[in-house]
Amino acid sequence: MASGHPRASGDAQHDRAGAEPHGPNDFVQLLDPDGERVEHPDYSVDFTDDEYRELYHDLVVVRKLDAEATALQRQGELGIWASLLGQEAAQVGSGRALRPQDMAFPTYREHGVLYCRGIDPIMPLSLFRGVDQGAWDSVAYKFNMYTIVIGAQTLHATGYAMGIALDGRIGGGNGSGNGDEAVIAYFGDGASSQGDVNEAFVFASVFHAPIVFFCQNNQYAISEPLDRQTRVPLYRRAAGFGFPGVRVDGNDVLASYAVTRSALDSARHGQGPTLIEAYTYRMGAHTTSDDPTRYRIASEVESWQAKDPILRMRRFLDKQGIAGEDYFAEVDAEAAREAVHLRERVLSMPDPDPLSIFDHVYPNGSPLVDRERAQYAEYLASFAGEAH
């Protein structure tokens, strides 16, 4: 798109939202697509071999479960599925960067983060099957329920972070600083246009809230490309709100981990918010109801296949001698077993009891709801004994 507008200061190449990042000046990368470790002046990781293997394991399992969910939808067992294909590294990297006491606020696509939080992967499938609305215990798991209205959760996350500050759980306010807390809010490039997200930036900034805004820029909001949301790289928006923004290679699990861990620790130490733009690509459709061939070309998808987050991790493990074919086969087999197990449980999931729709409307109940429940129960009972 032609531009007659003056640009903000800085290198014009970096100013263009859609300009593909390549080197260390464009984004934080610790692992390149060929599986080579890249040094960065500000970020590093120090994993044991076991930990490297675990990250690979998580990436593979998360992708396999996601593929299983897509298959289940195609077979009519889920109403819809929002695939995370291509975004595994951003999610596993940031998810593993959370400390146990940290709180996460997902969208509806954070199946990888959910997995990292130790939540049974069946939970989002029950939501997308339509037997419930994703009612895992968000307090126990420190992982809020999925939020479907785009960007709304960024304000919930900010309020929660304000509460952490009020509780004195940042910057060593509770004594040693052990157990200081931080929040991560997930959202996407499309959500960056929402008023709620911008209000969340304002509130987080002026209240100096311990929060990390983690934007997975997967290049598309359903069909609309990034240039319909922004004219500057998304991470640079943070500057206008008064906190740091950093762009990370979202297909690099090591960099995603390092940048997120650093931002979370900065928040918990009382340094305020950070915006992370995880530069990635939605390899699949927006959801199973979408047809991406209508709005993007195959060669674009192919170019991103070359940057696949799992492939580069596998190359890295192989080159470094951390893992070999036996291990990869073992992980694939385990992922396949988990997928079968997931499928079996989805198929055996009962539909909700008809009268359960009246449950939990209010903590203190409502005479209106009680009356309707009783009337509907009576109505249903009137059919008892009739042939179906």
Binding site: D132, A135, D137, T147, H156, A161, V202, H360, P363, S366
Partner: protein
């Protein structure tokens, strides 16, 4: 007993809530040093500090959205929306999030949030400062909606709303803020979600809430000179409605007039008329009549007296009901 205005009764009730529970927070635009544009939070920041009486950025969705997060963290936020017409930027957070968290979580998550909204007209204000948005919220499952009409109810209902784990839209009759009345600060309050007969009568029933309760009472006083007795019911709770006292009253009087400032179309009066018809069909001597604002946008201030139900329009409806 103390004599307080509705505004001061709210202020005193908020103060008690802040004293009683350290998790109670007040948040909104100008609620701090200024004490709110209507001074309902006057002096509270000075006494409870900036962490408990929080001046927020000027963003209504942000106020409600962050209140949700604070509630998830264990706080009990009391949000002030400065004027009725400014609640709409927060509408999505209220209707899609506040109302649905408990349901969506199958009861695992409670959001004990109170959203205070000064509502209704009659103060000569510019556009967006005189609206009656109650039906939008009463229509939404998961929200409860109440409105106070007297200083005693203002004092108690705000405390009861804050203590409730249900999300509550708390509508304050802004043009009545300066009305005085007795407040029984040591008494036992009525249940929050109950309506109440506030003036007994036998010839016709008038049901109202918020700012129209005063109008209904004035109408009852006026017709008493002609020997007619109106029974006046303050509905108090708009969601859920507590209509048993209305049914009981209509079974005696046979006549019901519902009064509210909001337009009639798909409003509270329509719901009340339908339910009274279902429950009191054989007792009714006349159709349920409504006296409401007109189905037009709230007009310019110099014309608002035409729009707002007043004593004469209530009496006209009573006459029509009695003459049916």
């Amino acid at each position: 007993m103390e004599t307080l205005t509705i505004g001061k009764a709210l202020n005193t009730g908020l103060r008690r809530a802040l004293e009683d529970d350290p998790k109670v927070l007040i948040m909104g635009e100008d609620v701090g040093k200024l004490g709110g544009v209507f001074r309902i939070t006057d002096g509270l920041q000075k006494d409870f500090g900036e962490d408990r009486v929080i001046d927020t950025p000027l963003a209504e969705s942000g106020i409600i959205g962050t209140a949700i997060g604070l509630a998830l963290r264990g706080y009990r936020p009391v949000c002030e929306i400065q004027f009725d017409g400014f609640v709409y930027p927060a509408y999505d957070q209220i209707v899609s999030q506040v109302a649905k968290f408990h349901y969506r979580s199958q009861g695992k998550v409670r959001l004990p949030i109170v959203i205070r909204i000064p509502f209704g007209g009659g103060i000569g204000a510019v556009e967006h400062h005189s609206e009656s948005p109650e039906a939008y919220f009463a229509h939404t499952a998961g929200l409860k909606v109440v409105s106070c009409a007297s200083p005693n109810d203002a004092y108690w209902m705000i405390q009861q709303s804050i203590a409730s784990d249900d999300p509550i839209i708390f509508l304050e009759p802004k043009r009545r803020y300066w009305e005085k009345g007795q407040v029984d600060v040591d008494g036992a309050p009525e249940p929050l979600h109950s309506s109440r007969v506030i003036r007994p009568g036998s010839h016709a029933t008038v049901a109202a809430y918020g700012p129209m309760v005063r109008t209904a009472l004035d109408a009852a006083t006026a017709v008493a000179e002609d020997g007619r007795e109106l029974e006046v019911i303050d509905l108090r709770s708009l969601s859920p409605l507590d209509l048993d006292p209305v049914f009981e009253s209509v079974r005696r009087t046979g006549r019901l007039v519902v009064v509210h400032e909001a337009p009639s179309n798909v409003g509270l009066g329509a719901e009340i008329a339908a339910r009274v018809t279902e429950q009191c069909f054989y007792s009714l001597e006349a159709p349920v009549l409504r006296v409401t604002g007109f189905n037009v946008p709230y007009p310019a201030a110099r014309a608002e007296e035409e729009y707002l139900p007043d004593l004469d329009r209530v009496l006209d409806a009573v006459d029509r009901s009695m003459g049916w």
